[in-house]
């Protein structure tokens, strides 16, 4: 049966049998003398179940700038003059009747005009909010999608859907799927890394580890959270008093004793553990260097607007580029401060300022280093915000919102899809979250219907039972 075959496959990967890594590879792990240097590194990384890819990939990696809390599309990428005219007037009931609604339950529903100006930017004349002065400079590189919709109106399930393709907990996140599907080019770092930052204006929703959890995939594919304070990776620092050399001695002794034990029991799992200890030790030395931005030029630091070490979104953007250079497959940056139930005019200006320069810098920096063509950059949150006022803010909204994409395989300088004149419903070229995932996988060379994992009797996939390519944004 299918499940058995796949189980064998999975076990092979986990190291229970030799067919996953190849017998030479295994032997080399047990006796490092057999393989050296580059050859040795080649056999240690997980190379993915989609190997070769289903079709020619356009990109090798994803950088997802995740604006947690639900950025208003009406103040960022979807200008609505009609809504401006209707400011303070009742929202037509034809839109809202029988629709899900969050904190405005039972409240009077009046329109709130867009709180910031929009400008036409770049050669293409993309309409972008004046909040994003720097992004305007790379307007021709991004494809704005104005017609997203999602199913969940509260943060927690909406995050779950945006990351896993469904609102039911326990499924793998997009990054875990991609790592499982394609493996990683990095020998010293995990294939899926999460960076987080928090804005200063206090509109911060919680986020949860389940957003980068591997769900029912093997735990190996769990996203690894890099922290800006304390140890960048939990437990990556050797104990006090234990120098790198002493730690190496300890690891060497563990490895040697494990090899001795293996002579007796012949358990291929031991080879896996030996390789994981090697990887752990390499992380201990490579991660601090990675997080240290002092080797970056002043010009680069200025471009992003960071000095590093402050846990800011800007520092994380620069780290994202460094991770991309090191072959990390999936990099997700959360920035929390977008939940503008009140005070949207001022607060969205603050949070936009926190992300604008750095995200534009990231695109420029990737481009000049020749990395943008092989990277997909995604910007957006878990949902948008209502055209209706909630005091001087906006409530959660799921029927229409905006995101943008940039990088390899993406048609820059276009705006795709549209909401109605109030910015309530996505009405033209409507895009569901599952479609976004399908398109992301497509760009990575994966047919989203064929990246599956058997669980509870079904071949599950990131796109659940839906997902179609957003052809209009593909170059």
């Amino acid at each position: 049966m299918l499940s058995l075959a796949t189980r064998i496959n999975r076990r092979a990967f986990l190291g229970h049998s030799a067919c996953g890594l190849g017998s030479i590879a295994l032997a080399s792990l047990l006796d490092p003398g057999l393989l050296r240097g580059a050859d040795r590194d080649k056999v240690q990384g997980w190379k993915g179940v989609i190997n070769p890819p289903h079709h020619d990939p356009k990109v090798k990696r994803v950088i997802w700038l995740y604006m947690a809390g639900g950025p208003s599309h009406l103040e960022t990428f979807d200008y609505k003059p009609t809504l401006a005219k209707m400011n303070g007037k009742p929202m037509p009931e034809s839109f809202t009747k029988g629709q899900p609604i969050a904190q405005l339950q039972g409240a009077k529903l009046n329109c709130l005009a867009p709180q910031h100006e929009f400008k036409k930017c770049g050669q293409s004349g993309q309409e972008i909010s004046s909040l994003f002065r720097h992004l305007a400079g790379v307007a021709d590189d991004i494809a704005i999608i104005r017609s997203l919709h999602t199913n969940a109106i509260n943060h927690d399930p909406a995050h779950t859907l945006m990351n896993t393709g469904t609102t039911i907990s326990g499924r793998p996140s997009a990054g875990s799927w991609v790592w499982y599907g394609l493996g990683s080019d990095s020998e010293n770092l995990p294939g899926f890394i999460v960076l987080t930052s928090t804005g200063a204006s206090g509109q911060q929703q919680p986020i949860a580890q389940r957003q980068w959890h591997s769900g029912f995939l093997p735990g190996n594919f769990q996203g690894v959270h890099f922290h800006s304070k304390g140890d960048p990776v939990l437990y990556v620092k050797s104990p006090e008093g234990v120098t790198a050399d002493r730690q190496r001695d300890v690891v060497d002794a563990i490895q040697a004793l494990n090899r001795l034990y293996n002579e007796q029991v012949k358990d291929s799992e031991i080879a896996t553990r030996i390789s994981q200890y090697e990887m752990a030790f390499r992380m201990q030395s490579s991660v601090p260097g990675l997080m240290d931005l002092s080797a970056e030029t002043k010009e680069t630091l200025d471009l992003y607007g960071t000095r590093g070490g402050d846990g800011s979104f800007a520092a994380n953007c620069l780290l994202a580029r460094r991770l991309a250079e090191r072959g990390v497959r999936f990099i997700q940056l959360y920035h929390r401060d977008w939940d503008h139930h009140g005070g949207i005019k001022n607060d969205i200006q603050k949070v936009a300022k926190e992300v604008d320069q750095a995200m534009a810098a990231l695109l420029k920096d990737l481009k000049r280093r020749g990395l943008l063509d092989s990277t997909l950059v995604i910007w957006g949150g878990e949902f948008g915000r209502t055209p209706m006022a909630q005091g001087n803010g906006r409530d959660h909204h799921i029927k229409g919102f905006s995101m943008w994409l940039a990088g390899g395989g993406i048609k820059g300088g276009i705006t795709y899809g549209a909401t109605d004149e109030f910015g309530y419903n996505a009405v033209e070229n409507v895009v569901h979250v599952n479609d976004l995932h399908a398109t992301m996988l497509h760009l990575l060379g994966i047919d989203h219907e064929r990246l599956t994992y058997p669980y509870q009797g079904r071949n599950f996939r990131l796109t659940d039972v839906a997902g179609k390519l957003i052809q209009g944004v593909l170059a």
């Binding site: 049998s17 437990y235 104990p239």
Partner: protein, 829 residues
């Protein structure tokens, strides 16, 4: 010639899945060979889901299938065969764009099956198990009990012989981990190794089953299934008290509570006559799900989510069925319908809870305290009625008081009273009059004695409730209306209203016209007629003893699930389990007493190649310890482990800032002090959105959904935890101090002492050599780097023992860290 080759292919294909030895072509087995093909490739459009059915063809039922696509006995004229083997893109099935063409071997299975008459069977797990006869085996001397007999028969059928019995050290280690989750102490190992009596092993099994740590080990497993956690799960993920439920589970396993009773108490303990505290706590099962407090969450939506969650969980835990699929559509593979899903959910419609908001905790008082509170409440009622009683005398006194107050001013009186007094007595409303009277009676000197008595009673009553531990229990209220939600859409009220019923294809409940309750559901789940429950549970016990189930898909006994590797053994065990009174310890004893269990886990090259995934159990399993056990083992070896059982969750060390992404409110993890830091892993505070990173690294689930088959990964993060997490460093230091104190005079004796603690065995000369080298090198280094040595021995809350050479202790800490990190240390074999 060609045909022969074809048969060979088929046999090979079947052999690779089922059997390596048996080469004679057999009658095609519908359940094992045909249904998996139809289910995987055809049911999505031609299965039980009538919503998505194409061409009105269904292939999951014989009566329907033989009307259209199948001509029994005549594959050549069955359109099923012509369609699946067609070269025409417009004809071929599955459709060309599905890219999942059947292989020639699969088509041949279908062809032969139709030629043989196209016999359909009911899926194995939906037929009540009957006790099969024991098979005849050659290796009679090995077949110690029924388990062995079935295992020997399958080994023999596949040309395998059992592995030799493992050595006693491995055996006691294996058994201790499996039954208590803890390593054996060196004295226990010696006792067993030196016990020459024929009952030595049985005594050991009995002792471990009687250990109070047995309940903890079994609870680890059960808490995953029922998704026990200390936080609510969604969004702000706030705290809730449910540790009494964990106590209940530990106690139930330790007391060997019958599994049927255990089931009934959790699903419906509150509905039992005069439920005990224990039964009410058990009913907290229904409250363990994720709940939300998020502002703007719509109660109706979350009520629907909770119903669905409960259906998914109960059907996974007891029936290994994936009923969750039916929230939006009829099941694609199994005979569950959407109506079944919502009717199952209706059983839980009587549970009192807040759809959105903090759940109310229920104090649990010991019976004697509860009786006292009842008595106090009666006294209080009496006293209050005395205070409120109409009285001409008091009314007269009140009038005098009113007069004086009006004269002196109302300053200091509560505003409503003052306001009422300002009004002409004749014009006062009844409320105003009452406000004045009530106030007067609260100050009247004549009533002082009664007021004092009231206060005294109150002072005795309140602490009883305040100091009582609280938990979430189930309280039944008039049931909510439950409708079928079209496509799972909670906004759509057009669906039919449903009553509680069990899945229609499995059974119907006779409740004499009354609405069926959770108690009815629970009783049906554990009725001997239920084909699933006993099989599902014995399969999970099997996993505990052998590392994988007889049915590998522990959570799916449906058509897409794995088939049992030993169907007769599974049925035999299920029947035995029920007939012996759902006796869990009895069943574990049966399994662990078997020779199958006692085999070595080391396999020859031949066996490894013949049976790489150990389906036929010609050896025992070897696998990494579970997350909590990795921790427990290390603490036990180092001597730090607390042996306290039960109680509230504890907070061991956790990296600072790990909780910084929680909000509403913002929280800091405050690590406990003292013994709490060294409790077993199952007591670690289980925060769903940010589970303790050391547990998470070793595949502990976040318990949002039912988990019955944890993944077992091997990752660099695990290495970082064992190398650098302060608890592991502190444990290594504690172990080092003990080595120096108790380990003996010289290097080899000391290492031997340590190996016996950590690995239950003596140390080998090569190991001595390696570790001595490390020790000497680090000793020399630390002697030159005393500040470093000092730091290395002060990780954790305990201060380093005095009167010990710091450099020596630091060097031994290095050695202890190595030993605690060994593959062998974290492996059950």
């Amino acid at each position: 010639m060609r045909k022969k080759a074809f048969v060979a292919v088929v046999v090979l294909a079947a052999a690779s899945r089922l059997s390596a030895a048996d080469a004679t072509p057999k009658i095609i087995d519908y359940s094992r060979e045909v249904q998996p093909i139809l289910s995987a490739h055809c049911y999505a459009c031609h299965g039980p889901d009538d919503g998505k059915r194409k061409a009105k063809l269904r292939l999951d039922r014989r009566d329907a299938a033989i009307k259209k696509a199948i001509k029994p006995g005549d594959a050549a004229h069955s359109s099923l065969i012509s369609r699946v083997s067609s070269d025409d893109d417009d004809e071929v099935m599955p459709p060309a764009n599905k890219k999942d063409r059947l292989t020639p071997a699969q088509i041949d299975v279908l062809r032969r099956w139709i030629d043989e008459g196209a016999k359909f069977d009911i899926h194995w797990s939906y037929v009540k198990p009957v006790r099969p006869a024991l098979p005849a085996v050659k290796n009679k001397s090995w077949a110690h009990n029924a388990v062995d007999t079935f295992i020997a028969a399958s080994q023999e059928a596949h040309g395998l012989a059992p592995a030799p019995e493992t050595d006693r050290i491995t055996l006691i280690r294996r058994l201790s981990f499996d039954l208590t989750g803890l390593p054996p102490a060196p004295e226990e190992v010696d006792g067993f190794v030196n016990d020459t009596s024929p009952e030595a092993y049985e005594k050991l099994v009995n002792r471990l089953l009687a250990s109070k740590h047995y309940g903890e080990r079994m609870a680890m497993y059960w808490l995953d299934a029922v998704r026990y956690a200390d936080t609510a799960g969604y969004h702000s993920d706030n705290h809730r008290d449910v540790w009494l439920f964990r106590n209940y589970v530990i106690d139930a396993f330790n007391a060997n509570k019958r599994f049927d009773q255990f089931t009934i108490e959790q699903l419906a303990g509150d509905l039992l006559p005069n439920p005990t505290n224990e039964q009410r706590i058990a009913s907290g099962y229904n409250r363990l799900l994720q709940t939300t407090e998020e502002g703007g969450a719509q109660p109706k939506e979350y009520t629907a989510k909770y119903a669905a969650d409960r259906v998914r969980n109960a059907s996974s835990v007891w029936l290994a069925s994936t009923m969750g699929c039916c929230e939006c559509h009829n099941h694609k593979f199994d005979p569950f319908t959407t109506r079944d899903f919502y009717s199952f959910g209706a059983f839980f419609a009587d549970i009192q809870e807040k759809a959105v908001g903090r759940q109310d905790q229920t104090p649990i008082l010991p019976p004697e305290d509860a009786a006292r509170v009842k008595l106090f409440d009666e006294q209080l009622a009496l006293l209050r009625s005395t205070l409120d009683r109409p009285s001409i005398e008091l009314d007269a006194l009140q009038a005098v008081w009113e007069k004086s107050v009006r004269a002196e001013g109302v300053k200091g009186l509560p505003k409503p009273v003052a306001d009422a007094l300002a009004i002409d007595p004749a014009k006062r409303t009844p409320q105003q009059k009452q406000a004045i009277t009530k106030h007067y009676r609260s100050i009247a000197p004549e009533l002082e004695a009664i007021r004092k008595a009231t206060a005294d009673v109150q002072a005795k009553r309140d602490p009883l409730l305040k100091n009582a531990p609280t938990t979430l229990v189930t309280t039944a209220i008039p049931p909510r209306v439950v409708r079928v939600l079209p496509r799972g859409n909670w906004l759509d009220d057009s669906g039919e209203v449903v009553q509680p019923t069990v899945p229609v294809f499995l059974a119907s409940l006779d409740t004499k016209g009354k609405r069926a309750t959770r108690l009815d559901l629970a009783k049906w789940i554990v009725a001997p007629e239920n084909p699933l429950t006993a099989r599902v549970f014995v399969n999970r016990l099997w996993k505990i003893c052998f590392g994988q189930g007889i049915v590998k898909s522990l959570d799916d006994f449906g058509i897409q699930g794995s088939l049992p590797s030993h169907p007769q053994l599974l049925d035999w065990l299920a029947v035995e389990f029920v007939e012996k009174g759902w006796d869990i310890k009895y069943l574990l004893k049966l399994m662990t007493m078997s020779n199958t269990y006692r085999q070595s886990s080391v396999a020859s090259q031949v066996v490894r190649e013949k049976d790489p995934t150990n389906i036929w159990l010609a050896r025992q399993g070897r696998f990494r310890l579970e997350a909590e056990m990795v921790r427990d083992n290390c603490l036990a070896v180092s001597g730090l482990l607390s042996s306290k059982i039960g109680g509230p969750s504890v907070k061991p060390y956790q990296p600072a800032g790990y909780w910084s992404f929680l909000n509403f409110p913002k929280r800091e993890w405050q690590a406990d002090k003292g013994e709490s830091v060294y409790r077993r892993g199952l007591y670690t505070y289980w925060c769903r959105t940010f589970l303790h990173p050391s547990l998470l690294a070793f595949d502990a689930p976040t318990r949002e959904e039912c988990t019955v088959d944890r993944t077992r990964s091997s990752t660099p993060l695990q290495a970082l935890v064992l190398l650098n997490d302060p608890i592991y460093v502190e444990a290594a230091r504690s172990l080092a101090a003990r080595i120096m104190k108790e380990g003996g005079p010289d290097m080899e004796t000391r290492l031997n002492w340590t190996y016996r603690r950590a690995l239950s065995r003596g140390v080998k000369s090569e190991e001595v050599k390696l570790l001595t080298e490390l020790y000497q090198k680090h000793l020399t280094e630390f002697q030159k780097d005393m500040p470093g040595a000092q730091k290395a021995v002060t990780v954790g809350q305990l201060s380093a023992p005095k009167n010990m050479d710091t450099a020596e202790l630091a060097a031994w800490t290095s050695v202890a860290r190595v030993i605690l990190n060994l593959h062998e240390t974290v492996t059950r074999n």
